[in-house]
Amino acid sequence: MAKITLDDIGKIYPDGTRAVGHVNLDIQDGEFLVLVGPSGCGKSTILRMIAGLEEITEGKLYIGDQLVNDVPPKDRDIAMVFQNYALYPHMSVFDNMAFGLKLRKMPKEEIKRRVLEAAETLEITEFLDRKPKALSGGQRQRVAMGRAIVREPKAFLMDEPLSNLDAKLRVQMRTELSLLHKRLGTTTVYVTHDQVEAMTLGHRVAVLRAVSPQRPYNLQQVAPPTELFNEPVNLFVAGFIGSPAMNMVYGHLEADGDTVWAVFAGNRVKVDPVALERHPGIDERMGDRLVLGIRPGNFEAASHVAGADPDKQIEVNVEVTEMLGNETFVHFLLDEEPVMTPDIQELLGAAAEEEAVMGHKTQFTARVSPDVPVTAGDRLALVIDTAKMHFFDPTHGVRIGATPPPGMEAMVQS
């Protein structure tokens, strides 16, 4: 086991395009770090550079205390689990798991001991004589995991290992992975585009974004899951983490004596002082145009909150409802043009144009109790937990009072 240090790592392809820039990460010994981001954000490239499958063109990579930039993969003492499992089709499960150990000239008894032990942990002992093609997806996944475990490496690198499994199995394997990591305590770097996987598995999560010529930096925020959720550093992270996504609307704050009001799309709600404390320097932004963020979970039907503060309520026309059993999502529109910063455009991708067609309406989603009797067309009073409101700068999308992500400092200062 070892820590992994990425010191200003970058990758420029021979044709001059940059995939990765200025990535600084200190992955602690035994930590489970998740790299998450939409496709094209460079997460797999970073993982492959740690593995040694991709050449590092900038910066320094340390595994333990050893500089490994020029060390071939086999000498880095890491094990990798691939998205397509990459099992050797002509070898039995046993041989698949033993291959790496055989190549390292380990004594036969030791190989057998390790493989059997790993097979037991993963509950694949009965399949040891089978070929991969006689296994189901989940079983192949376990074999791939077993191949990594038997090596007892310094670190596990996992490249979207669950994305080829069906939804139910994925949830199950996610739990098992978590337990496995608790048992083995091996440093793990895990790549995924699924924010649920990122939130449930990671000790810390690094949110990445594709580089651009103006902003050759991938890292947006590296933090424990709750911090990412509660204090996203910019609109990109805010929009990526959380499902359904955070609601965002243009608006401004008004100070009226000791009370601060949030004004947006013809609504006026009292902002809880806690929210203001979480945004240092917000006092200087009174009256400025801001992006207000409210997570769907911070709404509730006013009828279902005892003593709901009338100053924290808005009335909406319900467009669509989705009943999911233990919660209901209510979709409604606000009379304001949709928030469209570069962050949001990048997150939405092709959907951004659709959003633009919608014109001067902002879509909102609220989560309410399942027993709220609501259907499309209803008028509904919603109360907002304004202590959990988020405020962002509308030009560069950085959260008010937050340390901007690397590469965005200059924009924030100007």
Binding site: G52, L53, H90, F99, G100, L103, R104, R147
Partner: protein, 287 residues
């Protein structure tokens, strides 16, 4: 397995339509045209020549293998047979072994000049080797390889390489790259990756290219005729010319000789068809 099942289903479905029935009739008719003369050869090789002259088309009264013994011993078919077998097998092994290594590099690595090299190999497919017989003969003569089995084997191997490299490199290219990467992380160097991971996976393709080389070489008449002088080195097709002259009137032996020549090919197809189908259906896919 699935591919086999689908083709079976498709066939039974096509039989039910009139077009399908017509195709079946056509194919069966063709099969009869091909098989009938072959059966004639088989039957007549087991009958004495006198009987054949009396009644050319008839079942053998009793199974009589004398003509095979005559062909094998007196007409030197044993010599020709072993020559053919040795030369063909050696050529195929040499060409395939060379091709598989070249194809691996061409199919899986990109380096300066790799595409030029690939085109160089493929250009062999465009060359009619028989037109190059004169320079080839002079080359072999200078190397002292005319009238040697080694010379013929080298020529044959060279003719087989372009096609084999073509097929094998395409096969190598479609193997998932993650396998190589997994092996590399497992601690394998390039030779181990080739020998223990990639090579076993192209075995079905190896069977295909081996068969495709074997058949034309086994049947080839031209190169041994030009390059081999001494009769004890002759292969079956060349040997048969002398045999035809000698045994013009001994039809029974003649038929037996033809059958001895054909049997290895029949056997090869029986074995290799299975191999090729296995290769096509097993594939590698997403494993």
């Amino acid at each position: 397995m699935t591919a086999g099942a689908t083709s079976l289903r498709r066939r039974s479905r096509s039989r039910r339509t009139p077009a399908g029935a017509a195709i079946s009739v056509l194919l069966w008719g063709y099969a009869v045209v091909v098989i009938a003369p072959l059966m004639l050869v088989v039957f007549n090789s087991m009958r004495p020549t006198r009987e054949i002259f009396r009644d050319p088309i008839a079942l053998p009264g009793s199974i009589n293998l004398d003509s095979y013994v005559t062909a094998w011993n007196e007409a030197s078919f044993s010599t020709y047979f072993w020559n053919s077998l040795f030369i063909t097998v050696a050529s195929v092994v040499l060409a395939t072994a060379t091709s598989v290594m070249a194809a691996y590099v061409l199919g899986r690595y990109r380096f300066r000049g790799s595409s030029v090299l690939a085109i160089f190999f493929l250009s062999g497919l465009l060359l009619p080797f028989r037109l190059a017989i004169l320079p080839l003969f002079l080359l072999l003569q200078n190397l002292g390889l005319v009238d040697t089995r080694a010379g013929l084997i080298l020529v044959y191997a060279a003719t087989g390489i372009p096609f084999s490299v073509f097929i094998l490199s395409a096969y190598f290219r479609q193997l998932p790259g993650e396998l190589t990467e997994a092996a590399r992380i497992d601690g394998a160097n390039e030779f181990v990756i080739f020998g223990r991971v990639m090579f076993p996976l192209v075995r079905p393709a190896l069977a295909t290219v081996a068969v495709f080389q074997f058949v034309p070489l086994w049947n080839d008449f031209f190169f041994p005729l030009v390059l081999l002088r001494s009769s004890e080195k002759w292969t079956l097709p060349v040997g048969m010319t002398r045999f035809f002259g000698e045994f013009q009137t001994d039809w029974s032996t003649l038929f037996a000789g033809i059958l001895i020549t054909t049997l290895p090919l029949v056997a090869l197809f029986l074995v290799a068809t299975k191999q090729i189908i296995a290769g096509l259906t097993a594939g590698v896919g997403k494993i």
